[in-house]
Every structure is written in structure tokens, then in C-alpha cells.
């Protein structure tokens, strides 16, 4: 085998996953029925996807995965999901002015529409939340398609591989290896002896939070405190909050809803950035595990500190009286709400917004950009570098300062009382540097590529585009703000960002490991 990898096994297993993706399309199908919209879009999509699934499965009907095959499978699974996810967009928009619908007028229009659909789909599954839709509304795009867009984020949130392990016995055999490759964060905590049970526990917690959240949102509506949070909107936002997604069927994101709704969204966004394994401990009555967890404390502390600084800035007038977000200068409640919402949303990579923060002072925007670098917790649905990595990097630097003056002293790095393996520390260093380098190089490439077609990005725009996609965050600054769009980028830039979202979701390792092991034959 030239690649040193039995790719057929990886691809064969993909077919199983694709088959089940067809089933999830029942959700938008039901939405289409309820709203009396065309049901053929999702009927045809389901048939197509199922057919693709069965065909791909034939490549290797009895896949046997080794470690390399597992990594390849994980890497491919997210691409496959994104590609499959484009089908409803392309079909639904066919012949309309939709920016993600299939356009067959010319070759340029054809490729652009396919790239747009792929961008939107990858942004969905990787829970990024960056959009290329020209106009976000259920009138332009049907309720069903908008619900599909939300659903992709919910499916991607806890991890499509984790979902497959939880429900498919043939995948569960190699579950531990697979989950390790996909799970956000440096290490996987096995909660139960059987990996499939761990996966099921995680998905159950995720599911339960989503249900409670939807009920609360809809409850507010019935209580008259949220006029436009109807059942559709409640479910749609339920699908994108817990996975730190950030898509909203409303053009104004969460700014479209009342203050009461925004206050309800905040804690659920915050929950999404916590390691879900900790909730499992809480459910078993071991709440102290959560409270003593260094990463949880770091996460809570980071949110509290950044929010406090931003709230003071807003209260003192960092935000002019803007249309979306309202007046914050001298208004305590609004300052606090806008600060908390934006910080939580950007810090853990959700990407909702209740204010057009690109209109804020540069200081406030730079503070938000700083928050975007932090990221959620390992084992959460959040993206970014992750709190635990920053904690360990910080501790390793402190150790270095000490050992450079006292080279003979051996001092381990500890986190939450346990010693961190030296190998893990170096792996985290490698990851962090690679992340920063990829982020920097991509920012340069994006600005060069857009200059090619005559658009000059500001440095804040190009860096935030790179950071928002590799960190799976979504909105950036300037024209890429929470109410802006990535539509104006050239196709090549969009493809680069699709790559960034993919590599960011998989945290680089599986992708590179597969490439390097294929090249490195020593």
C-alpha cells in the first residue's frame, strides 16, 4: 500500500455514517410539512444521501480499522459530512437568487455556488457559525433549509464520531482511538469502562441540556416575555447554543429577541464551553470534581475577568448608541448584559451576538479578539486553543524560568494536583505554536488573495477571518462582524477557510499525523 494506510477500510466505514446522515434529514422534512413548503428538496436529498451511503459502504463492507485507518477515517468523516450537507442547500436554492443554491448559468457561477454551499455546510458541522448567506431569513430560504442549517451544528457539536460510537456497534469497536482523535482538548477522559457508554453518556447530557433549553425558551414565549421566540425559533436556537455553533435563522442573531431571552441564552452558552464529562460527575453527586477542576476554574475566571473589564468599558461609553445593542453608556443592566453575552459567545467560540460590536471602540474590539484566542474547555463543544492548553503552557513557562536558573532541580508540572506527562506538555507546545503559525500565515494568505480581486482587507479583518474560522468561532470584525457575511471573499479564500474550519475542529493532529506518516516512511 503506497500510503501505508488501508484507505478502503476508512472509506467503507464512512458509508455507514453517511447512511445515517440521511435519517437526520427527517427533521427538516417535518418542518417543511408543518409550514407547507416544498417537501421534494429533502425527499430527494434523503434518497441521494442514502444512495451515496450504500455505494460508499461497498468499498469495504467489513472494515477493519488500525490506528492509521482510524485517524484517516476521522479526518475524512468531517469532510464527508460537509460535502453531504451541501446537497439540501444546492437543491433548495436551485434556480433562485440564493447564494448557496446551485447556479448553472456559467462555470464561474457553478463553482461559486458549490464553494458557497460547502463553506456554509462546513461552517455548520464544525460549529463555526460563519455564513455566506446573502440574506438570512426564512422567507428567502425556506424554514426547512434554515432548520437544516441549525441541525448541522447540533450534529457536529458533540462530535459526529462520538455520535456514531454511541449508536453504531461496528464503530464502537475502535471507539477509544476514534474519540481521542476527535475530542476537543489534549486528552480523553474515559468515564466508563466501555467507550460506547461514555459516548452515550456525553450525548445524553448534551441532549438533555438542549431539551431543557428549548423548553425554557418556548416557556418565555408562552409567558409573553419573548414575542418572536416561537417554537421554530426556540428549536432552532436550541440546536446551535449547546454546540457553541452560532447560526441563527434571525438576521439580527440574538439581538432580535428580548432582554429576558438574552439572559437565558447566556448560561446555556456558558455551559456549552464546559467539559461535559464534569456534568457527568455532577450527576453522580460528585460536584466537588467540577469545582476543583483547574480548567473549569480557569474558564469561569477568564469569563468573569474579561466580562468585568468589558462591562466597565461599555458603561463608560465604549459603544456609541448603535441600532443593535442599544445604549450602554451609564446603563448598568445593558452594559452588563452586552458585555457578558459577547464575551461568553466569543470566548467559547459560539458566535451569537446581541450587539453590533464592530461599531464599538477599537479597545473593546481588541479585548474581544483577545477573548477569541482563549477558547472553551477540553471535552466541551467549544473551539479555539482551549483553556487547559493555556494553563499548561503558562505552567511550563513558569517552570522554565525556575529551571533555567537551577538546571539541576527536577520539577514536574501539576494541574488539579496531578502531574502532567512531559510528552503531553511538548505536544501542547507543538499544537499551540502550530495553531499560531497557521493562524498568522492564513491571515496573510487571505489578505493577499482578496487583494488579488481588488478588495483590501484591513489587518483586523484578515486576522479575525483567520482566527474566527480556525477557532470555529464565526463572526469577526469589520465587514465580517456578527451581522456581516463572508460572501465577498473569492472562492480560493473560502476554500482556505473551509480547510481552516476543518483542521480547527479536528485540532490539527489527526490531519497532520495522517499526512506526515504518509510522507515520512522512516
Amino acid at each position: 500500500m503506497a500510503w501505508g494506510v488501508n484507505w478502503k477500510a476508512s472509506v467503507g466505514l464512512l458509508g455507514v455514517g453517511i447512511k445515517y446522515l440521511a435519517v437526520t434529514m427527517l427533521v427538516p422534512l417535518v418542518v417543511a410539512l408543518v409550514y407547507g413548503e416544498d417537501i421534494w428538496v429533502f425527499l430527494v436529498s434523503m434518497a441521494l444521501v442514502a444512495a451515496i451511503g450504500f455505494a460508499v459502504e461497498r468499498v469495504d463492507p467489513d472494515p477493519d480499522l488500525g490506528p492509521r485507518e482510524a485517524l484517516l477515517f476521522v479526518s475524512l468523516a468531517w469532510i464527508a459530512a460537509a460535502v453531504i450537507g451541501t446537497i439540501p442547500y444546492l437543491l433548495a436554492g436551485y434556480g433562485t437568487a440564493s447564494t448557496v443554491g446551485l447556479q448553472t448559468g456559467s462555470l464561474g457561477a457553478l463553482t461559486e455556488s458549490i464553494v458557497n454551499a460547502l463553506f456554509e455546510s462546513m461552517s455548520g458541522f464544525t460549529t463555526t457559525g460563519a455564513t455566506v448567506l446573502g440574506e438570512i431569513s426564512t422567507d428567502r430560504h425556506s424554514h426547512a433549509v434554515m432548520m437544516w442549517r441549525q441541525l448541522t451544528q447540533w450534529l457536529g457539536g458533540m462530535g459526529i464520531i462520538v455520535l456514531m460510537i454511541a449508536i453504531l456497534p461496528e464503530v464502537a469497536v475502535n471507539g477509544a482511538q476514534l474519540m481521542e482523535s476527535e475530542a476537543p482538548g489534549p486528552e480523553l477522559q474515559k468515564l466508563t469502562p466501555k467507550i460506547a457508554e461514555t459516548a452515550r453518556a456525553l450525548w445524553l447530557i448534551y441532549f438533555a441540556f438542549t431539551v431543557v433549553y428549548i423548553v425554557l425558551l418556548y416557556g418565555l414565549h408562552r409567558a409573553g416575555m419573548a414575542p418572536n421566540m416561537d417554537l421554530f425559533n426556540a428549536i432552532a436556537h436550541g440546536f446551535t447554543t449547546l454546540p457553541t455553533g452560532g447560526f441563527s435563522p434571525e438576521a439580527d442573531s440574538v439581538a432580535a429577541f428580548s432582554a429576558a431571552v438574552q439572559w437565558v441564552v447566556i448560561p446555556f452558552m456558558a455551559v456549552a464551553g464546559v467539559n461535559f464529562a464534569l456534568f457527568w460527575h455532577v450527576l453522580r453527586g460528585e460536584a466537588e470534581v467540577m469545582l476543583k477542576n483547574a480548567e473549569f476554574r480557569g474558564y469561569a475566571g477568564a469569563i468573569a475577568v474579561v466580562t468585568a473589564v468589558l462591562a466597565v468599558m461599555l458603561f463608560r461609553g465604549a459603544a456609541p448608541a448603535i441600532e443593535l445593542g442599544g445604549m450602554t453608556q451609564g446603563v448598568t443592566e445593558n452594559s452588563l448584559r452586552q458585555a457578558t453575552f459577547q464575551v461568553v459567545s466569543l470566548l467559547n467560540s459560539t458566535g451569537y451576538a446581541t450587539a453590533d460590536f464592530v461599531e464599538w471602540d477599537t479597545d473593546a474590539q481588541i479585548l474581544l479578539m483577545f477573548a477569541m484566542f482563549i477558547g472553551g474547555s477540553a471535552g466541551s463543544t467549544g473551539g479555539g486553543v482551549k483553556i487547559v492548553r493555556w494553563l499548561i503552557v503558562g505552567k511550563a513557562i513558569r517552570r522554565e524560568l525556575f529551571t533555567s536558573a537551577h538546571p539541576d532541580v527536577v520539577q514536574p508540572v501539576r494541574l488539579s494536583g496531578s502531574v502532567i506527562d512531559e510528552d503531553a506538555i511538548r505536544g501542547i507546545m507543538a499544537f499551540t505554536i502550530l495553531y499560531l503559525v497557521l493562524f498568522g500565515v492564513s491571515a496573510v494568505l487571505l489578505s493577499l488573495d482578496t487583494a488579488r480581486i481588488g478588495i483590501q482587507l484591513t489587518m483586523l479583518e484578515s486576522t479575525s477571518a483567520s482566527l474566527a474560522t480556525i477557532g470555529n468561532i464565526g463572526p469577526g470584525f469589520g465587514r465580517l462582524g456578527p451581522f456581516g457575511s463572508y460572501l465577498f471573499f473569492p472562492d480560493t479564500s473560502k476554500l482556505l477557510m473551509v480547510f481552516l474550519m476543518w483542521i480547527g475542529r479536528l485540532e490539527i493532529v489527526p490531519v497532520l499525523a495522517v499526512f506526515i506518516s504518509a510522507i515520512d516512511t522512516r
Binding site: P67, R68, L71, T362, D363, I366, M369, V393, A396, I397, E400, L401, F402, S404, A405, H406, P407, V409, E422, D423, I425, R426, G427, M429, A430, T432, I433, L434, L436, V444, S447, L448, A451, T458, M459, L460, T463, V509, L512, A513, I516, S517, D520
Partner: protein, 564 residues
């Protein structure tokens, strides 16, 4: 602060104060030498300034040296603190002669320093005690400007507050070049003997013997080896530059007298060889408008960017192959070549959309296939600026502030990486970049290996076992991370206070230039910049020169003491 270290802190403090005191005494000696230069040129106010500064420096240094005379010999653990503290103190005291000379010289005398031939129409008059002068010396009446200039000199950076260098007294011109030259030797000593510890690339490359517990013998032996080389190279560079300037056909070069030519050649040889970058001409190297002078400076700057242990092997053992065998030197040449090509392509492509970004009228009237005159100029400036940036020299031949953002960012890349560890360059250094790259590739290829597999890696001609490789990677990764974080934070601060005419690319460029001890400027640095940014640059130059960790150790020792 209560002494938590059982009475050991004062001992450490004594060791450090005594050695920093010795450094100050040496600096006082350099100042006395400059008094002679000032008297030789008949600059009596400057002589007074340098004499006073020398006296004060000698007083403080001598006192520290005397009071702690019986402190024990310094050990390796003191090395970093002495280096960081020493650099800071030397830079602060080095500002004194600039400051005192500026105050000792009356405005009328200052005006006499402005060259009669200079076109001063665009110069900004500076208010001094009720009258005005055109001499840039007046800027040093501000103590922050003086400290900035001194730090920029001692760290070999080359960013300057003296807008028009020819209007400075000769003694001050000399002092600026002299501190870059001596500071250059200091850096080589720093990397080869003090910072060289297991886990830093230069250790693995250039030292194999067991570590010495005492640092004095190692420092002394390094200085003995290095100074002869530096003097010899400087004389060579002086002769080359002198000949090149005399042979240049540009109007400026032809207007120079023999004495003036020798003076400029000497100063630029000193600052070019030690990759410092201060100049005595108004627009750095662009003043000459001479491709010949630029071409002559290229090998001088490259010499300064090659590790001195390599120079030693090449010259002492007559072993030219070492230039290729040494990992860093090999990569230096590769990067020089590749970067010139890439930057040239970017700049040639941007000739149409930029105005006044490159030298014009002065290029040899010769055409090349495929390129017109303007594009040739872009290639010429790209070549010089890339090499000036990668060797962290900072001689400027083109208004980089007018280049497109892509070209600026490329140059930032060169300034962040820098040349070879063990030379006078700044940046993270080639050996670290290489180690980090190898380490990352290794981390990923290791995914499929069993945990206890025997792995070795090659670093240059040395085969490193797993443990050494991991230690090298850990150190390099931490320095690189800290470097990038300081760069990002610094540029974000700067973009907010630099004013609306500068974009983020300019801010990034300027911070990379200061922290990489390069000295190229996109136009932000100058006497009118915000004091906050100026102070931050002093900090950037300091931490960049010491590769960050010693400064952090210094701060840590200042708060908690040196012991566990």
C-alpha cells in the same frame, strides 16, 4: 520584604551588584575614550557632557564594585540576572552622555553642527530654551529619548530618535556607533557563554564539554577569542566601504571629502558588522544612492549574522567547509537566497500600485531582460532590505512604510526569525526555528510509534537522543511562544496609539523591528511618537536582546529571590 531565603538573598544581590558595577566601570572607560574623540574634533561641550557622564557612571559602578568586593564568585544561576540587569543598567547610564551633552550645548553651538551643504528646508525646528535649532542633538534633552537611543545602541537595534544624524556632534555620532560595536561583542559573549545551557540550541551546536560552574573564566575566554576577530573584520569592512564610497558615482558620494568618507566608512563598518544599524547619514544607506555601497554592505552584514564559533573554526582551522557543515550557516544562506527571490517577486508585482516606494534615479543605466527600470529598482531594494532584515542590521535603502502590506509582512517574517545564534542578530534565531519545526513534525510522526520506541534526531552534525531532543524542543518552543505573544501584544498596543495614518501592518512591523533588534522603520518611530509607545519599544528591545527568558528570570528574582 521579609527575607524568606534564610539570609541568602543579600549574598546573591551582592554578587549581581558587584558584576553589574564592573560593567558600569567598563562603560565609564568607553565614555572617557569618547571624551578624547570629542576633544579631537574640538567639541568642548560634548567633551564636558561625556566627562560628567563618565564620572557619574564610574562613581556608581565603582561604589557597587567596592561595597560588594568580597561577594563570592558568580555561578551559572546568577548569569541570567547579571546579563538582564547589566544590559538595563548599561543602557540607562549610556543615556547620560547624550542627555548631558544635549543640555551642556547651547542652541547656537548646536546649529553649528548642521552641515552647511544639507538641504534643511524640510527639517523641523526644535525649540530649546526659548530659541530654536535644527540640530537633532536637541531631542536628547528629553531623558526618554536619550534612554531610547542608548538602549537601541546597546541592543544593536538601530531605531533612532536623532532624525537627522549629520546634525549631531561627532562625539555623539561616535558614541552611537561605538556602543553598537561593543554591544555586539557583548551579545556574542552572552549567547556563547552565559545563555548557553542544555536546552538552548547554541549549547548543542557549539559546546560539548561539561558545563562550568563559574561564569567568569568562560566569559573571559570568549572575549579573548572574539575581540581579535571583530577588530580584524571591522578593519576589513572599513577598507571595503571606504573604497566603495570613493568609487561611487552618485552626486552625494562624490561630494564627500576624503576625511568625511573615512569617518562614514568607519562608523558604518562598526554598525554594519555588528548588525546594529545606526548610521551617520541622514537617510541611512539610501543617502548614498549607490548600488555599489549597498552591494559592499551585503557581505559585511552577512558576516555579522554568522555564528562566531563558525568564524573561528573557518579562520583558525582553515576549514571553509564548516560554512556548509554548520546547520545555521547553511540555512542562513538558503533563507537569504529564497527570501530575496520571494520579496522581489512581491515588490516587482506591486510597482504599479505603490508610489515612491523604491529608489529611483540612481540605478545603473542598464536594462535586464523582462524587467524595466522601476522593477529593477524594486529588485535591488528588495535584495538589500531582505538581507538587512534577516541579519537584523536595519540599514534602510528604501521607504518601507510605503510598501504594500504583503511585503511588510514578509519582512516581519525575516525580522522575527533572524540569523544564527552565536552572532549579533536578534529574533528567535535560526537554530530555534529549526528545532521547533523539527519538533512539531516529530510530535506528529510519533503518533504511531510505541511510547518507548528509540528515536534519535539530528541537529546539525550532532545526533541527539530522545531526551536531549525533547529538552531542546521544550526550550525553543517556550522562547518562540513568548516571542510571538510579546509581538502580538506589543503590536496591538501600538496600533491603538500610533495614530490613524498607520495600519496594523505598520505596527506589527515596528514592534518586530524593535524586538528583533533590527532597526528598520515603517515611519512610526521618531521623537514625536507617543511616550507610551517609546517606553514600550525600550522594553521590546531589551527583552528581544536577552531572548526574553533572562528578563523574566530577572523579574522573578527581583520579586521572589533566586532560590527555590
Amino acid at each position: 520584604m521579609p527575607d524568606r531565603n534564610g539570609g541568602r538573598l543579600p549574598t546573591d544581590l551582592g554578587v549581581i551588584a558587584r558584576d553589574v558595577g564592573s560593567l558600569l566601570l567598563m562603560e565609564a572607560g568607553l565614555m572617557s575614550l569618547t571624551v578624547v574623540v570629542a576633544l579631537g574634533f574640538g567639541e568642548f561641550h560634548a567633551a564636558l557632557g561625556f566627562l560628567l557622564a563618565g564620572g557619574m557612571t564610574a562613581l556608581v559602578g565603582g561604589a557597587a564594585n567596592r561595597v560588594f568586593a568580597d561577594a563570592p564568585e558568580p555561578e551559572m544561576k546568577h548569569g541570567m540576572v547579571i546579563a538582564a540587569g547589566g544590559w538595563l543598567m548599561v543602557a540607562c547610564f549610556g543615556a547620560l552622555p547624550l542627555f548631558l551633552t544635549a543640555w551642556a550645548t547651547p542652541p547656537a553651538v548646536m546649529d553649528a553642527f548642521v552641515p552647511a551643504a544639507a538641504d534643511t528646508a524640510s527639517w523641523e525646528p526644535i525649540e530649546v530654551g526659548g530659541s530654536v535649532t535644527l540640530s537633532s542633538l536637541a531631542y536628547f534633552r528629553d531623558p526618554l529619548h536619550a534612554v531610547f537611543e542608548s538602549m537601541s545602541g546597546w541592543t544593536g537595534s538601530g531605531l533612532t530618535m536623532a532624525v537627522h544624524e549629520p546634525s549631531l556632534p561627532r562625539a555623539v555620532q561616535w558614541w552611537r556607533s561605538f556602543i553598537q560595536w561593543v554591544g555586539g561583542v557583548g551579545v556574542i559573549v552572552l549567547t556563547v557563554s552565559i545563555l548557553s545551557r542544555p536546552g538552548s540550541g547554541s549549547y548543542a551546536l557549539y559546546r560539548s564539554e561539561a558545563r562550568e560552574r563559574k561564569i567568569h573564566p568562560s566569559v573571559v575566554s570568549t572575549v579573548r577569542t572574539v575581540w581579535k576577530l571583530v577588530v580584524a573584520y571591522t578593519l576589513l569592512a572599513f577598507a571595503m566601504l571606504f573604497a566603495a564610497i570613493r568609487a561611487s558615482e552618485s552626486a552625494y558620494a562624490e561630494s564627500l571629502s576624503v576625511g568625511e568618507t573615512a569617518w562614514q566608512a568607519l562608523n558604518h563598518a562598526m554598525t554594519g558588522l555588528t548588525t546594529g544599524g545606526f548610521s551617520v547619514t541622514d537617510n541611512s544607506i539610501a543617502t548614498y544612492g549607490s548600488p555599489l555601497v549597498e552591494a559592499t554592505l551585503l557581505p559585511i552584514m552577512v558576516l555579522g549574522a554568522i555564528a562566531f564559533p563558525v568564524h573561528y573554526v573557518v579562520l583558525n582551522d582553515r576549514n571553509v567547509r564548516e560554512l556548509v557543515a554548520d546547520l545555521q550557516t547553511r540555512w542562513l544562506f538558503v533563507l537569504l537566497g529564497a527570501g530575496v527571490v520571494v520579496l522581489s517577486i512581491q515588490n516587482v508585482a506591486s510597482v504599479q500600485i505603490t508610489t515612491g516606494a523604491f529608489a529611483t534615479e540612481s540605478f545603473v543605466p542598464r536594462s535586464a531582460p523582462l524587467l524595466d527600470g522601476a522593477q529593477l529598482d524594486a529588485v535591488r531594494d528588495s535584495t538589500f532590505q531582505w538581507i538587512s532584515a534577516l541579519t537584523c542590521t536595519g540599514f534602510q535603502s528604501a521607504p518601507i512604510g510605503r510598501w504594500v502590506a504583503g511585503a511588510k509582512v514578509l519582512v516581519v517574517g525575516a525580522m522575527v526569525l533572524g540569523g544564527a545564534a552565536g552572532s549579533t542578530v536578534g529574533g528567535i534565531k535560526i537554530v530555534r526555528g529549526y528545532t521547533v519545526g523539527r519538533g512539531i513534525a516529530w510530535q506528529f510522526s510519533r503518533v504511531f510509534l510505541p511510547k518507548n520506541a528509540v528515536v534519535t534526531a539530528r541537529l546539525g552534525d550532532r545526533t541527539l537522543d530522545r531526551e536531549t531532543m525533547e529538552r531542546e524542543f521544550g526550550e525553543a518552543a517556550i522562547v518562540t511562544l513568548l516571542w510571538i505573544v510579546a509581538l502580538v501584544v506589543g503590536s496591538l498596543v501600538l496600533v491603538n496609539i500610533a495614530g490613524p495614518e498607520f495600519g496594523y501592518a505598520d505596527a506589527l512591523f515596528e514592534v518586530a523591528s524593535a524586538q528583533g533588534n533590527v532597526g528598520l522603520s515603517s515611519g512610526i518611530t521618531g521623537p514625536s511618537m507617543s511616550p507610551v509607545a517609546e517606553g514600550m519599544f525600550v522594553l521590546n528591545m531589551w527583552i528581544g536582546r536577552l531572548e526574553i527568558i533572562p528578563v523574566l528570570v530577572f523579574v522573578r528574582a527581583g520579586i521572589w529571590g533566586l532560590n527555590p
